[in-house]
C-alpha cells in the first residue's frame, strides 16, 4: 500500500481529480465565477469526501457487495446534506448561488470514484487522507480558476473592488459565464498535464 505522504501528494498532483482524472467538471464550471462561492464549495467537498471515505472504509467489511453502491450514496448524501444545512444557516447569501451545486456533490464523480476505488479497499486513515487530498486537489484547481475569473469578470476579488484592474480593464462578461470556465479549465489542464505527465515520461 502507498505511504500516507504518497496518497496525499498524488491526490493533489499526478492523480489530480480534475486535471488528470477529469472528474467534478460540472461544479468547476458552475461555481468558479466568484471566489467566495468557490471557497464554500471546496470546504463542502473536502469535508464530504474525507468523511464519507472514512465511514465507508470503517464499515467496508460489513457492506454486502450487492448493495455497496447504494450504501456509498447514502453515506455521501448524509454528509452532503449536513454541508447544505450548515452553509444555508451560516452563509445564506452564498447558499442562494451555490445551493443547487452542493446537492450535486452527492453525484460528484470524485466522491463516488474515491469511495469505490479507494475507501472500499483501504484502511480508514489512508482513506480519510485520500479524501482530503482529492478534495484539496479539486479545491486547488477551482481556486486558481476563480482567482482569474472573478477579477476579469467582475473586477473584484472576494467581493472587494480592485481599483487597479478597473482603470484599464473592461469587465469581461464571458468570464462570469460557464464558457469562461471552459476556456480557463482547458488552458490550465493543458499546462498542468504538460508539466505533470511530461515529468512522468522523463
Amino acid at each position: 500500500m502507498p505511504s500516507i505522504k504518497t496518497i496525499f501528494f498524488d491526490g493533489i498532483g499526478k492523480n489530480n481529480p480534475i486535471f488528470i482524472q477529469v472528474l467534478g467538471i460540472c461544479s468547476t464550471l458552475a461555481v468558479t465565477n466568484l471566489l467566495a462561492n468557490t471557497l464554500f464549495m471546496c470546504a463542502g467537498l473536502i469535508f464530504s469526501t474525507a468523511m464519507s471515505s472514512l465511514i465507508i472504509s470503517l464499515i467496508r467489511n460489513l457492506i454486502p457487495a450487492r448493495i455497496r453502491m447504494i450504501v456509498q450514496v447514502l453515506i455521501i448524501a448524509t454528509f452532503v446534506m449536513m454541508v447544505d444545512i450548515v452553509i444555508s444557516a451560516t452563509a445564506p447569501d452564498i447558499h442562494k448561488f451555490i445551493g443547487p451545486y452542493i446537492g450535486l456533490i452527492i453525484t460528484n464523480c470524485i466522491i463516488m470514484g474515491r469511495a469505490e476505488a479507494f475507501a472500499m479497499q483501504n484502511k480508514p486513515i489512508p482513506s480519510f487522507i485520500d479524501g482530503i487530498a482529492m478534495g484539496l486537489g479539486y479545491s486547488m484547481v477551482l481556486i486558481v480558476i476563480a482567482v482569474i475569473r472573478e477579477p476579469l469578470g467582475f473586477g473584484t476579488i472576494l467581493g472587494h473592488t480592485l481599483p487597479a484592474i478597473n482603470v484599464w480593464w473592461h469587465q469581461w462578461t464571458i468570464m462570469v459565464m460557464a464558457p469562461g470556465a471552459f476556456f480557463m479549465l482547458g488552458l490550465l489542464s493543458w499546462i498542468a498535464r504538460l508539466y505533470l505527465l511530461g515529468k512522468e515520461k522523463k
Binding site: L62, A65, R66, M81, I85, A178
Partner: protein, 218 residues
C-alpha cells in the same frame, strides 16, 4: 448470518438509513432557529425590495422595522386559501400580496405589488423557487423581475386573462418576453400570475365591500 443473505441486506440497510437519518435530523434541529431567521430575513428583504423600501442597515431588526413603519399587513379570505396582503401607509399608494403556485419543478412563491386600482403591476419579486439553475431559476434575476415594473395588466377583472408573456396589454404597448430556454417555467409563472391575480382581485373586492358595508352602518 451470511453477508449476502436477504435478511442481512435488509437489516444492514435499515441500520445505515436510521443512523444517517438521525445524523441529518440532529444537524437540522440544531440549526433550526438560524434557518428560520434566515428565511424570514430573505422574505422581508424581498418584500422591502418589491415596495422599493431602502434599508441602510442590513440586519433582521432593520427589515422588521422598515416593513412595520411602511406597510400594513392583512389577511384576505373568501377566495380559497388566505392571502397575505400588504398596503403602503405612505404615498405612492400600492397594494401587494404573496402569490404561490406550482412551477416546473416545485412551488414558486413571490410578491406582486399593484396600483390601488389593480390596473398595473408596480413590481414583482420571487421569494422562493427551485427551478433549473441557469435556466428557469433566472426568474429571480433583477434583469427579469425589473421588466414587470409599472407593467399594465390586460384586465383587472376576475376571470379574465391578466397577463401573457410576449403580448402587450394594449396595442403597441410594452411586452415581456418569456425566458429563453425556460419555456415550462415561463408557462408556469404565467399561469401562477393569472390564477393568483384572479384570487387576489376576488378577495380584495370582497374585503372592500365588507369595509364599505361596515363603514356605511356607522
Amino acid at each position: 448470518m451470511k453477508k449476502n443473505s436477504p435478511l442481512y441486506i435488509v437489516l444492514f440497510m435499515m441500520i445505515v438509513t436510521l443512523v444517517c437519518g438521525a445524523a441529518i435530523a440532529y444537524v437540522q434541529s440544531t440549526m433550526k432557529e438560524t434557518l428560520a431567521a434566515n428565511a424570514r430575513l430573505a422574505r422581508n428583504r424581498t418584500i422591502a425590495s418589491a415596495f422599493n423600501l431602502t434599508v441602510t442597515d442590513q440586519t433582521a431588526a432593520a427589515y422588521d422595522n422598515i416593513l412595520a413603519e411602511n406597510l400594513t399587513t392583512d389577511t384576505l379570505t373568501g377566495a380559497g386559501a388566505p392571502i397575505e396582503m400588504f398596503t403602503t401607509k405612505k404615498t405612492p399608494a400600492s397594494v401587494g400580496f404573496i402569490f404561490s403556485g406550482m412551477g416546473f419543478w416545485d412551488y414558486i412563491s413571490g410578491i406582486m405589488v399593484l396600483s390601488p386600482d389593480l390596473s398595473e403591476i408596480r413590481s414583482l419579486r420571487i421569494i422562493e423557487q427551485k427551478e433549473t439553475p441557469g435556466l428557469g431559476a433566472r426568474i429571480t434575476e433583477k434583469s427579469f423581475t425589473d421588466l414587470f415594473a409599472d407593467f399594465p395588466l390586460r384586465s383587472a377583472t376576475a376571470g379574465q386573462l391578466h397577463f401573457k408573456f410576449g403580448e402587450p396589454a394594449a396595442e403597441n404597448g410594452r411586452k415581456i418576453d418569456a425566458l429563453t430556454g425556460a419555456t415550462q417555467t415561463s408557462l408556469a409563472l404565467e399561469r401562477i400570475i393569472n390564477s393568483e391575480l384572479d384570487r387576489f382581485i376576488t378577495a380584495y373586492a370582497k374585503s372592500r365591500n365588507r369595509n364599505t358595508v361596515s363603514g356605511s352602518g356607522e
